[in-house]
Amino acid sequence: MSSYNSALYPVEMEINSEVQTIRIRAADILLYTLRDKFGLTGSKSGCDNGDCGSCTILVNRQPMKSCLMLTIEADGKQITTIEGLMNSQVQNIFAQHQAFQCGYCTPGFIMNCEGLRNVHPIADEETIRVWLESNICRCTSYEEIHHAVKDIFTPK
């Protein structure tokens, strides 16, 4: 029972456009590596079980619940967290619509929307619903988020 710390493995990944190498335990979870080793605390834990979506990041431009991914699986991957977005349109629209209250779920929703845009630049209502179902917001009624998302996917 004394060997939890002993084996460390090297991992190289690109996080928010910078290449990073780090030594980690096999059991380390990507969400916590990002938060504790890189200080990227914008990604939140709400369940550590894939149920709430507050830990959503982009892995190779697609959304992923980072609590469901071992850090070791991220080797060679391209990671984007909320900190890697620079004043994106999605962020602006969430701000405009005040599509949050406590804000704890917000990075997850924003990253999921970013991912949805990468995969389906012109998503219809049904696609949006299926994608956003994976995130929980306990504060809002989803009405504000719905308005924001509609705005994001309405061709300008």
Partner: protein, 789 residues
């Protein structure tokens, strides 16, 4: 000497308006960029130790022994604390709860040990290695069972528990608190009742489910100061509780609360803070962080209260309500915590917002072998409203009246008295008839058919009304300080916690309105620090904007006097001739003449260097006025400053093949007194409606017959998700509450209160059976129909 100067403002000073504007949250950009630091966002700091709770696997059992030797052997484990190391009882109003179980466990999930380790995962591993030998005791799993004469006793020493506020436990039973309402003459009431109905209604315990789990850190500094960081609605109560429980001078306990990731009442209880302190004390005062996993957050930390209610109502032939007899058995769980106060609150407003002269109510907080209950949005009201509003629908049907008409006819108004015999007037009570009238227009009630069938789909609309007073302590209060800066901006200091409701931004709007400044010139941080911020009782009961708002208006008035006094010297006039607005102090009759606030914020310096005055600092405070404790025999008293009222409706479409249903519309009309920020107000109300619909339609802890919780995860404990939201309609009535800033009333919880009732009423109409038990799952509807044939 230069004195008066022209401000170049020909048309005079326009009065700015801030109230009624939807300004964005001050912390908007932090939130959308992920830079907000919530409590657990600093847990990666090197040197920080981590604690985990080991929890009980039984709902009711004697602890015969605890063996933590295997856990202690794990490398990296620093300390293990059991109840024996912390023999104290906590809880307010009734101190009945050890932070870690001592001789017995009373619920599944109760902390039995606390492990401190170098890493979180090490503490977690060690928690699984704690071995406890138990002697199992019979479990009590419902408040009705708990009331039975021969029910196993959950607290054998109830008589010895210390009482902090008015609370009436009954030793030798499982009753933690009883509140009695005795109003009018019941015999007469029943004699004059041509119609009577009786109904039993239940709502189960469920979870607050804030997406941020509860988290707290503690550190004991070498000089004895205790530093606590906690995601909490009550930093000042933490300070008092830690000071009292561990005999530490109050001023040596310093509590920091950053922005909170949702709370809904769940983070107003003091729980993790005791544990974090014990953990730090056990490792020589080092900083220790304690964060719940989702599972532990759901079953070990306090939950949302349940209720079993029995209601009997009577009315005359014309439908005038005559009598109400009510028994509330609140499911308080293993410890009373705020459940005791919620049960009192459930007595105070037991009749709903209706005029009834003869009322008999016993409202009890019952001990059961379930997680203990604490404040939940609505504070006992969503549950009581479900019960009384189901009864109202039944009675309306019995009389043969339209359900809204029946409510309108019996709506309480000025001149009437409440169950606590408080005399109502236009200020302490919102305008319910107006809310009902607006609701009718909003949903086209007169053209609406109550029930509409299309094949196997049935549409139906259910309605309800609600009211709520705040049941705050009679001395609840708050302070505020405003500090002027030499650029003319103002720093607002206050103790209201930002839990997402937008309070701290709304408070800057109140201040901007009074100082007639732009809101962007008012600075407010999002953190509360009990050492540097003025006191505030707690951020609960939709009372923050009221308490802090009144305090800050006093502070603003104090600052205005100072500004005028300095300006009067500079402008060589008397202070009475001056007014403040748009960043200036100016002469009322000649608004173009005045001086900018930035020139006097730190005192005024004459050209020769002489200076008068100094920094302008306004101070203000406020405490509740004229509230009284309730008479223990009759319930007579004044429980809070005002009753917010409203009317709500839900439209559903029931599929009679599967008993699934869609919520199509949800509507709230509320008397908000004064809407400060329309966007926040709507968002608070729809958010609360969503939470109410979620809990009414699906949320409940599932217990096995031994009291274990089977669904402690969001995968099995379902919440409303994106795409399930109905169309929301919200409208406001504005009847001012004269004691409140600009007349506002509490609105943070109220959208939730009637949602379970309106949903149950609509589904009962659609299904054609009486649905009196939450959660309203398809299975529950099917069972009720099946049982009724």
């Amino acid at each position: 000497m230069i004195v008066a100067r022209s401000l170049g403002n020909k048309e005079g000073v326009k009065i700015r308006q801030s109230i009624g504007k939807s300004i964005p949250r001050k912390e908007t950009w932090e939130k959308v960029t992920g830079t907000t630091k919530y409590i657990n966002d600093t847990s990666g700091e090197p040197g920080l130790l981590h604690a985990k709770i080991a929890i009980s696997q039984h709902a009711h059992a004697k602890i015969k022994s605890i063996d933590s030797s295997d856990a202690m052997k794990i490398q990296g484990v620093k300390a293990i604390i059991t109840g024996q190391n912390a023999p104290i009882l906590t809880g307010s109003p009734l101190a009945d709860r050890p932070p870690i179980a001592i001789d017995k466990v009373r619920y599944y999930g109760e902390p039995i040990a606390l492990i401190v380790a170098e890493q979180e995962y090490i503490a977690e591993m060690a928690a699984l290695q704690i071995k406890v030998e138990y002697e199992l005791l019979p479990v009590v799993l419902s408040p009705s069972d708990a009331l039975q004469k021969n029910a196993p006793l959950i607290h054998e020493h109830l008589a010895e528990y210390k009482r902090h506020e008015d609370v009436y436990p009954e030793p030798g039973t499982n009753i933690a608190n009883r509140t009695k309402i005795r109003k009018g003459n019941m015999e007469e009431g029943w004699k004059n009742s041509d119609h009577t109905i009786e109904v039993e209604v239940t709502s189960p315990q469920s979870d607050h489910a804030a997406i941020e789990m509860r988290c707290c850190s503690a550190q004991v500094l070498p000089d004895g100061r205790v530093i606590i960081h906690s995601a909490s609605q009550s930093p000042f109560v933490i300070r008092r509780a830690i000071s009292q429980s561990f005999q530490i001078p109050l001023h040596k306990v310093i509590v920091h609360t950053p922005m909170v990731g949702g709370s809904f009442g769940g983070k107003s209880a003091i729980q993790m803070e005791f544990l974090a302190f014990l953990a730090s004390r056990a490792v020589g005062g080092r900083a220790v962080n304690l964060v719940n996993s989702r599972e532990v957050d759901m079953i070990s930390s306090p939950v949302h209260i349940g209720l079993h209610a029995k209601i009997k109502l009577g009315c005359s032939l014309e439908g005038k309500m005559m009598a109400a007899e009510i028994l509330h058995l609140y499911d308080g769980g293993a410890y009373s915590d705020r459940g005791a106060v919620m049960s009192r609150s459930g007595a105070v407003d037991c009749t709903g917002p209706y005029r009834i002269d003869n009322v008999h109510c016993d409202s009890l907080c019952m001990y059961t072998n379930k997680p203990y209950s604490t404040s939940f949005r609505g504070f006992g009201h969503p549950e009581l409203t479900l019960a009384i509003e189901r009864a109202m629908d039944l009675l309306a049907t019995r009389v043969g009246m339209d359900p809204l008409e029946f409510r309108f006819f019996n709506a309480i108004g000025p001149g009437d008295t409440t169950p606590t015999q408080t005399l109502l007037d236009r200020s302490n009570l919102g305008d319910l008839p107006m809310c009902i009238a607006k609701l009718k227009t909003l949903i086209h009630w007169d053209e609406l058919s109550l029930r509409e069938t299309k094949g196997h789909l049935i549409k139906a609309t259910g309605v309800c009304c609600f009211w709520k007073n705040s049941n705050t302590p009679t001395d609840a209060g708050a302070g505020a300080a405003i500090l002027f800066n030499p650029d003319g901006s103002v720093n607002l200091l206050c103790g209201a916690v930002e839990i997402g409701q937008g309070t701290r931004t709304a408070l800057t709007q109140l201040l901007a309105e009074r100082l007639r400044m732009e809101e962007r010139m008012i600075n407010i941080t999002m953190e509360v620090n009990t050492e540097t911020d003025p006191y505030q009782w707690k951020t609960v009961a939709s009372r923050s904007t009221f308490l802090v708002g009144n305090a800050l208006l006093n502070a603003a008035d104090d600052a205005i006097v100072q500004l005028k006094n300095i300006a009067a010297i500079v402008l060589q006039c008397s202070p009475e001739e001056l007014d403040v607005g748009n960043g200036k102090v100016f002469i009322i009759d000649r608004p173009a003449v005045g001086i900018e606030i930035e020139k006097i914020a730190y005192g005024y310096k004459y050209p020769n260097g002489n200076t008068i005055g100094g920094q302008i600092i306004g101070r203000g405070s406020y405490a509740m006025r004229n509230l009284t404790l309730l008479d223990p025999e009759t319930g007579e008293g004044n429980p809070g400053p005002e009753w917010t009222v409203g009317a709500q409706a839900v439209e559903v479409e029931l599929n009679t093949r599967e008993y699934t249903y869609k919520i199509i519309k949800a509507v709230t009309v509320i008397d908000a007194g004064k809407v400060i920020n329309p966007q926040f107000a709507r968002s608070q109300i729809t958010g609360a409606m969503s939470m109410g619909l979620s809990f009414a339609s699906r949320e409940a802890f599932i217990f096995n017959d031994k009291g274990a919780i089977l669904n402690p995860q969001f995968r099995t404990y379902k919440l409303i998700r994106y795409g399930e939201q109905p169309e929301y309609f919200v409208d406001f009535v504005e009847t001012p509450h004269v004691e409140a800033p600009f007349g506002l009333r509490g609105i943070g919880e109220h959208g939730l209160i009637g949602m379970p009732a309106a949903l149950a009423n609509s589904l009962s109409i659609a299904a054609g059976v009486e649905l009196n038990h939450l959660p309203l799952t398809p299975e529950m509807i099917w069972r009720t129909i099946y049982d009724s044939v």
